[in-house]
Every structure is written in C-alpha cells, then in structure tokens.
Subunit: 319 residues, 4 copies
C-alpha cells in the first residue's frame, strides 16, 4: 500500500487487515513514515515510500496524492505487481494518461461496468468518489439510451470533508465547516468531470454534463442528485434501474430516498429513481448515496482487487 | 404576534423587541400558552391565541402552522390590523388563497420585488424560505428575459433543520440528522414550488422548474444552486445581478461562493453567478445563501412591516 | 427481543443477526409493532409485545422502557427463558428490585466483574451506560483499595444523544443540540448513581460519589472523567489498570487519552490513567470512553448472553 | 489591533467596528498581512505587524500568539498606548511575567474582579478563556471563604474548537472532531491553571485545584463544571452567587442549567449553583457557560477597554 497514511489509505489498510484472503505486505507513507497507526484493531508502522518492497505484493494499491502517484504506479508495475491506483493520475481525461503511455491504466475500475476487464487488468484507475456516485446513478440510463439527445444532465452533489483528505487546511477546520455549507468548483471546474464525460462518451451519449459539488458538514458520504431529461417517458423507471443492477452485491435500488447514514461505513451505493411532476419534458431525478471512503475509494479499490485476483468479490468488504 | 413560540415566531419577537420603532404588543402561542421564554434578552410570557387582543397592534404577524393561519389572518384584519402572514396559507398557488376571498393576501412579500405594493398592503403573504432564496437568485434573469424559452431551470437546494419547525419528530432528532444528508419531496413535490412558479408566470417566463430540496445537518441556513440555461451568452453575468440589486440593503452579489456561515443570524442574501464551462448551451449557475429564519422568514417579515409602516426598511434587522 | 425498535433494541437485533451462534427468534415492539426495519442488512418486522413467543427463545433480551420492563422479565422467566434486561428496573438500588422478589435479577451484568456468576444466571440486570463507563474506570482502584477512605470521587461524564433514546423530544432535536452542551441531573440526581454506589459498597469502599452527566452534540459515545484521591501514591498507576484488565477482550488501557471515535461502533472500553500534578493529596484522573449503545448497552448485553450460554464471549461483537 | 487575523482578533475587530465610541485605527496580522477580511460587515485589510502605527491608538489590543506578544506589548507601551494583551504572556504564573519587568501587566483583567484597577491600568493581561469561566464560578465562594480549607476543587471543563485558534492542525479538522470528544492536558497540565491558582492565592484560599479540559465538537463556547467542597452547609447558595453578582451587566445566575447556545455570540456568563445530594461533606456544583471568543477573549478585552477609557462598560458588546 503506497500512500497509506491518509483517509483512503488507512481505510484500505484496515480493510485489507480484515480480509481473510489477503495479507497487508507493507504500508508506505511519505511525510508520516515511521509513524504508527492502529488500523482495524492492529498496529501498523508506515515504512517510507522509497523503502517499499514493490515486488513483494501481488497487488499494489496507491493512494498517493494526485500528480505523485503515476511514477510509482510505473515502478510497481515494473516490479511485476498489478496495480490499483486511487489517484486521479491515470483516469480518463487526465493529462498524465496521455503523457506517459508506459503507465496508462488499461481499466477504469468502476467495478459494475468493468468487471470483465478487471480479471485481466494490469493497471486499474480507481474512479473518483463523485464520479462513482454519478456514474452509478446514470449507468442504466446510458446503457438503455434513455436520455434525450442534446440534453443537459444537471448534477448537484454534496460530499463530506474526508473527500478532501486529511492534510491540514484552514477551510477544513471544524470551526469553519460546522453549521456551514457551500458550493465549490462551480461552473464545471471539478477534476472528476472528465471521468464522467469519458464514460458518457463510451456509451455515445449525446449529453452535456453540468456538475456542481458542495461541501457538507459531515465526515463521510456523498449524495448526488442527478436530473435526467428523457427522450420519452419511462414507465416504472425504478424497475429499469433495479433490473440493470440485479445481482450486484453492492448496489441497491431503494424505495425511500437514500441517506448518508445508511451507506456510511459500507461499500454500498443506494439509488432512488423518481419522475418529476409538472414538467413538459419527461424527467427523472436519480439520487445516489455512497460512503466516499468505501464505495467511493478504498472499498471499490478492494472490490476491484478481489475481481482482479479471482477472489470472492465481497471478501473483506462491509455491506 | 400569533404563533410566537416556534422558531420563526421566537425569532420575530426577538427582532421586534430590539426594534427601536416598534413595540411587541403581545405574543400568542397555542400549545405553549402560559410558557415563558427569554427572547432578545427579555422575558416574554405567551398568551393564548384566543386571548390575543388582535386590534391592539398596528401590524399582526402570524407564524401559525400552515392551514391554521388563514382564519386568524381574517380575524386580525377584521379587527383593523394590517397583517404579515408567515404561513403558506395565503401565498400564490395555495388552495386557501382561492377558497377564501375575504382573507386573500393583496401582496406577495418578496420585499425586493414588492416594495411599492407593500406600502399600501393590508395582508402580506410572506414568502417561503426556499422560495425566497430561489427567487432572489432568479429575479434578474426573469426581469431581463435571459432564460432560454422552454428551458428547464434545475434547482437543488439544501436547508438546515429549523426550516422544519420545532415540533418533535423522530427524523429530526440530533441522532438521526448528524452525519446525515438526504433529499426529500423529490419530483417537484415541495409546497414552495407554487410560489416560485407564480412569480415566474408574472414575468411571462416560459420555463419549467425542477426543485429538489435536501436536509442539511445544520441548524439554520439555505443554499440554493440554480441552473439557468440562457437564450444567448451573457457577458459578465455577475454585473447584471449586481446592477439589478444595486442599492438593495439586504442582497449582496459576492465574488466568492456564498456560505451559510456568512449569512447566519443576518437578514442577508448572498448571491454568486458563474458561467458553466464545456456546455453547448450557455448556462449560468446562480448560488444563493440566506438564513432561513431571517431573510427566509422572520427577518423578511419585519423588513416587510418596516416598509408597510413607512419606517426605515433596515430598522431592527441585523445585516 | 422485547423493545426492539429503540436505539439499543435495534443495535442488539443487528448484532444478533450477525452472530453465527445465535438466531433472532423474534423482535417485539410496542408502538411500532408491525413496522419494518432494516437491521444488519436484513429486513425485520416487529411483532407486538403481547404476541411475542417468550418461550421460543433460550435468552430473552428486554430493552423496554424503564418501569415497563420488569413485568415482562417475569413473564419471560416464567416461560422458561433466561433473561438479560437492559432497563434500569432490576438494577441494584432501583425500587422495583426490592418490591418484586420474583423478578429480582440474580446478576448485575458488568461482564468484567460478573463473569463467573453469569454462567449460572437466570436474570441479568444489564448495567446502565454511564455506570459501565464509570465502574470500568474505578474497578481496579476498588479491588486494590487504592482510594483514600472518606474521600469524594468526582465524576464528570458526557454522553451522546442516543443515550436518551429515540422518543421525539423537543430538547433532543438537531436544532437544539448542535453547537450546544450542558449538564443535567446536577447534584447527584442521575438514575445510574445507585448502581455505581452499590458496586462501591460491594468492595466496602468508603467513598462518596459525585456524578455530573452532560449532553454532548454527538450521536453516540460516553466519556467519563473520574478523579480518584488516593490513600497513598501509586507508582505507575497505568500498569495497575493494565494488570487488572490483562486478558480482557473488550477493555484496553491506552497510552493516549481515549476518544469517542476510537470506540464508536465497537464493544470496547478505552481507559487512560494519569497522575495529577501540583496536588497535596496524590490523585489519579481516570478517563474512560465507550460506545453507549455497545459496551454501554446492546454490546454488553450480548457479551453477557455469550457467557451465559457458554459461547465464545467475543462472538458477534465488533471490537 | 495586533494579531487581528485569528478568531479572537477578528472578533475583536468586528466588535470595535460596531462600537460607536471607538474607531479601529488599524488591524495588523503576521502571516496574513495584506489579506482582506469582511468583519462586522466592513472590509478590513490587514497591515503587517511591523508597519502598525502603534502610537496612533489610545488602546492597543494584542492577540498575537503566546510567546510572541510580550515584546509587542512593550513596544506599544513605549509608543504611549495603553495595552490589553489577550495572550498568556503577561498573565500571573507565566514565565514572561517574571522575566521582563518592563512589560509586566499591572492588571489581570477579569473585569468583575478588577474594575477599579482597570481605570488606571497601563497594561492589562486579559484572562484565558477557561480561567474566566472557572474564576467567575468560584469568585463568590472565594470572597466569602466558603470552601473547606485543604479541599480539592475539581473542575471539568469543555471548550469548542475555536479555543485552539485557526492555525491548521490535523487534529482540529472537521473529520477528526465531529462525533468526537476527548480530554487533554490531563493531570493539571493546562496553561490557564496558573491564573486560576494566582487568583485563589489572592483570596488566601487554601485549596488544591484539579483542572481537566475537554475538546467539544462545537465551534464556540466553554462549559465549566466546578465542584466546591464547603466548610459548612450554605443555605440557598444560588442566592449567594446572585447577591455577589448583583448589578453585573454580563454575569447572570440562572435557574436552569447553563447551555452554550444561550451564551453564544454574547459577552455573557451564565452560572448555576446546585447542592449535591447524598454527600457527607456539603458540596456545591457550580456550572458556568461563556462564549470563549467573547467573555472568554475579545468581549472581555473590549469590556476592559471600555472601563479603562471611562466609556460605558457595555458599549459595543452584545449581551
């Protein structure tokens, strides 16, 4: 595990330590090398990143910061490991992807979309937390071609503060976040938009995306509220989503509106689908809740590793 | 003051007690009659609603529950008082409005839109908290005819829990709300939508509204995120909003994204306007923050009363 | 499970459903009979209390309200079940204990103190959440006779709101609790004090207890801060606590100050012991953190049932 | 104002800007020099500390960090200003006090104790936030000699996170503080203890103090819970406190337990006094709530400046 000391890294180490089919070979951290942490009830000492025996692990996870991860992915791959990269570096639409062929990911690891590719994957780009929520909400509509051509899909999403990592920042202090709420990256400025667009393009969806993230005064969780203008009315839309996700262990189409507390500490996505009243154009509102550190990061990374290694996909994952 | 014991009623009593040009004649409550409360540093005893000397006040405010307010508005009016009704009963689009001509409001009290009418008003329907935030964000676009005809204006809004009042409900307990977030009234089911549509209709705006409210784990504040598809590109859109609101004492077009904490405990609306990148159709994102108990309820009610009585519009209002 | 619909009841049902050696025979609720809940990932329908087949279960848990539980404990016992009662009714120092011999508990289930008795117990009075935290902090001192005779043990404790149950109350609404903190039951008025005194008496400890609880703006967790005036100085007091709790699976003497987040969602007690500087009389400060719904209620109840039934004491319990 | 950019400094600037009898001559900050902030509705640009025209102000406030403040107090004094220092540097019991005679404070500014001295003061050491709460709770007992000689006064106090300032620290991030609670500086290690002891000594009180602070998941507020063993029983103890504080504009002895929300954003101390039941030695529990940024820092500093300058003591202060 590279980048083991941040929120996603620690969460992934804790999951790996509780996984009966995996062993945590080592946990490496940059600034906090040498520090000890209690993860999943066990004491772990972080080694330095340079000292990490990359070749000792069948799968190397990297939760290094965006920009710093790609070179280490390349080294881990060169050392013979398969890699799941939680950074944005190798995701579709990111510059590093184009620049460095050698370290390009072969699979974008939205597990529910990529399961077949994952079995053979050498380098997996683990999706961003917002992209996971939004794409899980949109996938059935994309696959069935439900969205009106030329339409704008408006997404308002809200995330807990762990989505911003644990590097000290004044605007993330408790005193600044409690009793507060605000939008950010307004006007389609968020890094995860490129991933969302790339997956839409894969389905030849003729849509514009308008994505506005917000910062919630909670520790963990993302709720995405997605507006889908439809080409034509869909009878019982929730049934369409249920059918698409039938058999998926970590995606549930729910009758009540999803709530963060119902997915917290679980590798789960809860999705509700509703038709809007009083509109000329038939429109669905799809709401998706995930835990940004689990299905939005470490949980999905482990889910991907399970598939990649041919293990039970659910092993080690709280649902 | 009728309905003085809830959040909005108590806030309004406190403001009135601190207002040098007004006196609080009486504060009436239903269930909590006889109870004492410390409001604005002074001790107030609630009289029963039936005992309230309606004719003793130049202006009667009602924050009685929706459905219960209209008959009392009629009685107060019959007793000679001018009335500001904070309930939904007399707002445009609500059934009671049509049913009982005698108690119809003559003014919808979004102060910035209704200032001239307010001076002569006998019965003011004080806007809903969400409607206030959304309409303040949309007014310049409506007035200037900026929105593309036939377009859908998508609004995602989030409110603190005081918006739901202080009647005990299990889903509003601290243990249910902390670290949680969810949408509600999904699919255009919210009561305030009728007000928003009525104001849009007044401007002959050919738009559909799609409004999705969410419950935030904060005590007070509303943030509305409004997507405005434009008929054609607007150069420097923030300048349009600034020009429209020039001279308004309680509306500020801000450069940074509005935050709840900057408007909490103030009768203020903060608005930011941004253009969205990567869209075929020019689109603005307008974000609006207000304190739901002040500019969204009691503050605006007092602002309206100030205008109605010919007092300084800012008197008694924290900005 | 009697009283399955409250916080403690639901937590216990969820634990039981995840316990490989137990089966949840039925879950009974009063007001919420017929309601369905998702507990531990499974859907459970609450039967009415009157319909509960008391004799079908080897162990009946009761989380009925204080005052209502004792008669049902008697009925369950009469039906042949062994009973773990989470209410205060049968705990030492409570009036019902004296009044109704037939339903007197034979064991006060502070597991770490009562393990031997539990194996033969017919009726277990499960300790109160505050009592659990305070007594776990004091036990080594009581057992070793460390406290100065005649001294006052001052305890300040703070609890999350789930400790007050999920019956709607205005003072527990999110809007009343967020950004707030206050003491309650000040002056030794709290119900759990009788249990603490009874255990102190069992050790012939000549102490006065002064217990002040506080309400924290968190969902779950208790932190107790206990001041122990010593008969004489103790060298390495943490070692005394560590020795006393050696081998205990759910009690950990920690080096850093205990934090609620480290014990949340775990059946764990974290204890730190420190000597106070600048005091004439040698004095220890013992701090104890537990999750009030787990080690303070449902977790300890299941731990007790495990011992009572001869199962692995840790089975089904997250640590 | 030196050190204007932190929580206390910004709060003090905002108060000064709203004070009709004072003008904010300049606001100086270290790291954040040149930055602009909106304080009390007005835009303020921070000058560098070196550029601050120390002699231009009748009163210089310093909220510079502990350790950095004393030399600037000396310079401001040399420039002819009277000084209110919010840092710990010049408070009783702090090393700098002894080391640098030239900059010793002549007055410890617990206003209710020091009012007469303040009128002539040249340098005021503004009390620490915890010390303010604890001493206001103890003063009547100290003055009347109520505490049992040789007794230990146990104080458990809890503070919101703004008490730790706004310098980014990982342990103060929202994600680390929400749903958490912990003690710190356990064993009489807190810096404010020296002030409390010094004031006790001034009254020749023969007591030991045991002070344990805790970190609350709230932005602002301190609640101190003080145990006072009495020399002999006191009839109607609340009346004693009420009598002692009669006429004080900012101290209120309240009937219900003090709550943080009732003192937030106010320069107020709420105090309750209760006798403990079931104790051999008569004992009082005194609980005190203040806003740590107002009565615990900036508010008291302005209150002191008002007295010092001969202005209305309440001017510019929200109560």
């Amino acid at each position: 595990m590279l980048g083991a000391s941040g929120y996603a890294g620690r969460t992934l180490c804790a999951l790996a330590l509780g996984h009966t089919g995996l062993e945590l070979a080592w946990a490496a951290a940059g600034e906090r090398r040498g520090a000890r942490a209690t993860l999943g009830g066990r004491s772990v000492t972080f080694v330095g990143i340079e000292e990490a025996p990359l070749g000792d692990a069948a799968v190397v996870f990297s939760a290094l910061p965006h920009g710093a991860s790609a070179p280490w992915v390349a080294r881990a791959r060169a050392a013979g490991a398969r890699v799941v990269d939680l950074s944005a570096d190798l995701r579709p639409g990111h510059p590093i992807d184009a620049a460095a062929d050698a370290t390009a990911a072969d699979t974008y690891g939205l597990t529910e979309l990529a399961r077949d590719d994952l079995r053979r994957a050498a380098i997996v780009a683990n999706p961003g937390c917002y992209a996971t929520a939004v794409l899980l909400g949109m996938l059935p509509a994309l696959a069935r071609g439900l969205v009106a051509p030329g339409a704008t899909v408006v997404v308002a999403a809200a995330s807990g503060v762990t989505g911003a990592g644990d590097t000290p920042r004044r605007d993330l202090l408790f005193g600044e976040v409690t009793e507060n709420y605000r939008a950010y990256a307004v006007g389609n400025e968020h890094r995860h938009l490129a991933e969302m667009r790339a997956v839409c393009a894969r389905f030849d969806a003729d849509v514009d995306l308008l994505f506005t993230p917000h910062l919630l005064p909670v520790a963990r969780g993302i709720l995405a509220t997605i507006t889908l203008p439809l080409a034509e009315p869909v009878r019982d839309p929730a049934a369409v989503w249920r059918a698409w996700y039938a058999g998926e262990p970590f995606v549930e189409v729910v009758a009540e509106q999803p709530e963060l507390r119902h997915v917290a500490h679980r590798n789960a996505a809860h999705i509700a689908v509703a038709a809007a009243a009083g509109m000329r154009r038939p429109t669905l509102i799809v709401t998706v809740a995930i835990d940004n550190l689990l299905k939005g990061a470490a949980g999905q990374a482990l889910q991907n590793a399970n598939v990649l290694l041919g293990l039970d996909e659910c092993a080690g994952l709280p649902s």
